[in-house]
Amino acid sequence: MSANEPILRLDSVSKHFGGLRVIESLTFAVRRGVRTALIGPNGAGKTTVFNLITGVFSVDAGRILLDGIDITDTPSRLRIGYGIARNFQNIRLMPHLSALENVMVGQHCRNRGVRGVLHPVNLVPRNRWREAARAALADAALIQYERSTVGNLPYGVQKRIELVRALMAQPRLLLLDEPAAGLNPAETETLQAQLEKVCIGGLTVLVVEHDMHFVGALCEDVIVLDFGRKIVEGSPEDIRHNPLVQEIYLGAPAAEPMERHSARSA
């Protein structure tokens, strides 16, 4: 496998919900070790792309390749074992587990089988998996919350715990769905610092994000979606000045809206 081969490739992927064509013949690649952003207006299908990559939904057409391996029909449960980990747009931590145990859920894919499952992680005080999870929390400056019930923690802290949980799977590809949404500027900064620390190791990240400052600071590649299709891709700088992107976000010049609308519904 050459280093130039993309870590993730979507090949003419389509997904329809009833008559609604959410993703339409979408093709793109994520370069290894590169932080790529997936942007687009609300309803463009960004989260659906994540759900297709992680197997929450099956594709109607096309292929998804991870490191050249076709994972299109791989059950969702096994995909984290292939190295795809994600967070969720609306935080989905386990409310009845402590922060530390939530992070330990992320280790599950490295502990399959009866022996892994029956490993007494909470029995001996210095268990190696437990210590690894604590170290990861400490690394993210979250160790003071290890025994806390996650539901009581601030939103920004929960988002960062979710990131640590995803990283415990030791993924090759990290999918982040709006990691900065709902965070105040200070929280966004902390998250950004945590992400930059993570990316030093050369982790490939695909991120859905609205905050273009965040995207500009973190990502090297940007892919723009609209109505389930790829409109353009390029560097954050290119994208910012692209007239098509400006049109999508800010609306078409006064004379053209009807025309654009009819072109789309065709």
Binding site: T54, G55, V56, S76, R77, L78, R79, I80, G81, R86, F88, N90, I91, R92, M94, P95, H96, L97, S98, E101, M104, V105, G106, H108, C109, N111, R112, G116, V117, L118, H119, P120, V121, N122, L123, W129, Q144, R147, S148, T149, G151, N152, L153, P154, Y155, G156, R165, A169, G182
Partner: protein
């Protein structure tokens, strides 16, 4: 020891075993109203093995647990396809089927009931209960405990984290049924006579209540729930006819004050963790809704 006291303590030990049988499926988010059916399977299998093959209770009772577990494993696949209230109804029907089969099974006495020859006393039953409690506690100190809670909290995310949701649901259902079967077998060998009518829906509901009252999140919960449920009516015995009213009122008060059960995970973490003010205020300030859609 007086006969009365021994009787109460035997019931307490049997109820503790039942409570852990109910705890496993509830910890995985399943409301199993067929528990009495599995208790009946355990009771009748153990009674039959000791009556017909003269197996000692120490062998017959574990085998009865295995039998209940195997039946659960067989029915788990179709039954666990249902969710929520439908799962409760499906397991309720399962319990009714077991009861109906026993009523028509002449080889174990049918509707007339079935005498059990081998007798066991309090120390053996208490020891069996201690073994069950210890094993469940050990099981929940492994990754199994974390994974089952994850399945209970969010099946979709648990699946994406690589947890085999179905396998854990089946394991929790079958292990819980096996333990309930052992509880039934212990009951049979102490009270020396079993009949299908005893293993009815009210037994299932009582077991579920032990767990809900004690708390489904910690391994301590079922122990406490079973103890309160068994001992409180005895303590209220002085008030004769009113004791059930007082008991029911006490239940409602407990449930109103502790909707997640007497013992919760957060509470234990507070008790045994480093004491520290949790930043609740900040969480409220963030005030963002959390979606828990499937």
């Amino acid at each position: 020891m007086s006969g009365y006291l021994e009787g109460v303590l035997v019931l307490l030990a049997v109820n503790v075993v039942f409570a852990y049988g109910g705890f496993l499926p509830l910890a995985a988010g399943q409301l199993n109203l067929g528990l009495a059916g599995f208790a009946a399977i355990g009771a009748y299998v153990s009674a039959y093995l000791s009556n017909v093959f003269t197996l000692a209770p120490v062998i017959a009772i574990p085998l009865a647990g295995v039998a209940a577990g195997i039946v659960a494993l067989i029915v788990a696949v179709p039954v666990l396809r249902t969710r929520g209230i439908y799962l409760a109804l499906a397991t309720f029907a399962l319990g009714q089927i077991v009861q109906a089969i026993i009523l028509n099974l002449e080889v174990v006495g049918g509707a007339a009931g079935y005498p059990v020859a081998a007798f066991i006393r309090l120390p053996a039953i208490a020891a069996a209960a201690a073994v069950v409690v210890t094993l469940v506690w050990l099981l929940f100190a492994t990754r199994f405990g974390i994974a089952v809670t994850a399945v209970h909290d969010d099946e979709r995310v648990a699946d994406l984290m690589g947890i085999d949701v179905r396998a854990f649901q089946i394991a929790a259902f079958s292990l819980g049924s096996a333990i309930t079967g052992i509880g039934g077998a212990l009951y049979a060998h102490h009270f020396s006579f079993i009949e299908a009518q005893y293993f009815n829906i009210s037994l299932s509901i009582t077991i579920v209540l032990y767990v809900l009252l004690g708390g489904t999140q910690t391994v301590i919960g079922p122990l406490l729930g079973a103890a309160v449920f068994t001992l409180l009516p005895e303590l209220l015995r002085a008030s004769a006819n009113w004791r059930y009213v007082a008991f029911a009122a006490a239940l409602i008060v407990i449930m109103a004050l502790r909707p997640e059960g007497l013992v919760t995970g957060a509470q234990l973490r507070r008790l045994f963790g480093i004491t520290r003010a949790e930043p609740r205020a900040a969480a409220v300030a963030a005030g963002l809704p959390k979606e828990r859609a499937g």
